[in-house]
Symmetry: C2
Subunit: 292 residues, 2 copies
């Protein structure tokens, strides 16, 4: 059964990613909270807090059954009906402002009417721009996309820039990556692509983490990070479809909102100094670049 294949893959991916992240952090250990969904299924939330590198983060899997709410059915342009949704979702907020925040998500949805699709992506949210990091991240995802289908990367890169965009700020959330949704067609090649994405996460992120983890930083950089984390919160609560879907379908609130950063600041009128490295980031977020 397709849904079992997918769920099993997400669970084993969660295991291997958590192992790799614990090893990279050197101190952090994930703790697990298994939970059940009201209408069937459940999830395995794994949280890391107060690590050497990771201030807070989570690697969560879930596989739930339910009935589409009217609002969701309308958005999907189908009648209210039963659905099955499985996914893995990962957000890591490092303590150092020199190490970027990263997000990855892979998901599978199946409706009672037989329709099914995959969605997902990966994107990076640095606080300071290091060109080689941005290039590395994008190149890994380009390779995965192009192995699946020529020209795919350009499309998914553009989708990512469009999706992770804060309209009210005129800024991207970060330097992007890839984003896809409603990937329909033959199950096997699509599933193979999703497996390849899952298998590439550590390659895309850990080299950056290792390169930046010992970079010096102080109060100024921390202040900037806390300010930028505010934008992360704004995006997730104002725009993110996954957050809205989870909260609307009665998902586990703590597991959904583990994507929010541990400490955040909003300061009225806070703007970076002209010519500073902070301003450099804002410029990059206002005009998405071709990194790969």
């Amino acid at each position: 059964m397709r849904r079992n294949q997918v769920s099993t893959f997400f669970l084993s991916l969660q295991d291997s990613i958590c192992r790799a992240l614990e090893e990279a952090d050197g101190k952090a250990r994930f703790r697990e909270d298994p939970w059940k969904h009201d209408s069937g299924g459940g999830g395995r939330t794994r949280i890391v807090q107060e690590g050497k590198v990771f201030e807070q983060g989570g690697v969560n899997t879930s596989a739930v059954e339910g009935t589409l709410t009217e609002a969701l059915a309308r958005r999907l342009e189908v009648k209210p009906q039963k659905f099955f949704a499985a996914g893995i979702s990962l957000v890591l907020h490092p303590r150092s402002p020199m190490v970027p925040t990263v997000h990855t998500n892979l998901r599978y949805l199946e409706l009672e009417n037989g329709d099914f699709w995959f969605g997902g992506g990966a994107d990076l949210t640095p606080y300071y721009v290091f060109e080689e990091d941005c290039r590395h991240f994008h190149r890994v995802w380009k390779k995965v996309c192009e192995a699946h289908k020529s020209g795919l990367y350009a499309r998914l890169k553009r989708s990512c820039d469009e999706y992770f965009f804060l309209r009210h700020r005129g800024e991207a959330r970060g330097i992007g990556g890839i984003f896809f949704d409603y990937f329909r067609g033959d199950f096997q090649p699509l599933f193979a692509f999703v497996q390849a994405c899952g298998g590439s996460f550590t390659d895309s992120y850990l080299p950056i983490l290792q390169r930046r983890r010992r970079d010096p930083w102080g109060e100024r950089e921390r202040r900037w990070q806390l300010h930028r984390r505010g934008r992360y919160v704004e995006f997730n609560l104002l725009y993110d479809r996954g957050t809205a879907f989870g909260l609307e379908t009665g998902g586990r609130v703590e597991s959904i909102l583990m994507s929010l950063p541990p400490v955040v600041q909003w300061t009225y009128g806070f703007t970076p100094e002209p010519g500073s490295r902070e301003e450099e980031l804002v410029k990059v977020l206002r005009e998405p670049r071709d990194w790969a």
Copy 2:
């Protein structure tokens, strides 16, 4: 002209409230940012930061003209058309967890088709429950409502409990107050009620501020406050219609989001100790009480 009467009142109310708050704080001074709206009109944002009592807050007025976006017109069940909107909006985040956060808003909307209405309210978000504070706040608002119309307080109190509710948490944002919207009818009595509301803000809040400002607190109480402020952010970004209206109509982002607290924490799985004063608050937020 109605719109001039209302705008003039909001501006003078802003002056008198800011004076009273500066005096109460003893150190803080509001700084003013005037701004213009793309499609006509503008606002007067007044911000306080790093006061003796107020960590951050704002008392803003605006009076803008524009054309309803399709989404807004649909929500109001009218054709897209020109509108005029004026309002005063106030949010104060004190540093001390013993002093509650307070929010007040009064607004006036006028459509090209001749329809007009008032909306507004006031609500209190304490971090610890002091019964006499809650009773005081509600009694002030009850008096204002009952002077306008017998039975009005009960209705607006219930609307407030319903509006400031975080469905995903099953919690109210605070201990409520009053909330009203689409107040239509004869202009003069409605405007008189709105003026009475504006004039009652300082009575409703300053006695509480004075009573609590010297109460001792430490790291534990601060931690709890930062955690609860996360709920404030969740409400404002996920549910608040005013925030959505402002961002959708191209309002000034910094003025709209000044409602967000200056420092916030999200900690996975954070729960108050059984029997603690922190747990007492959560119980109150889960079951709205009759305070007046």
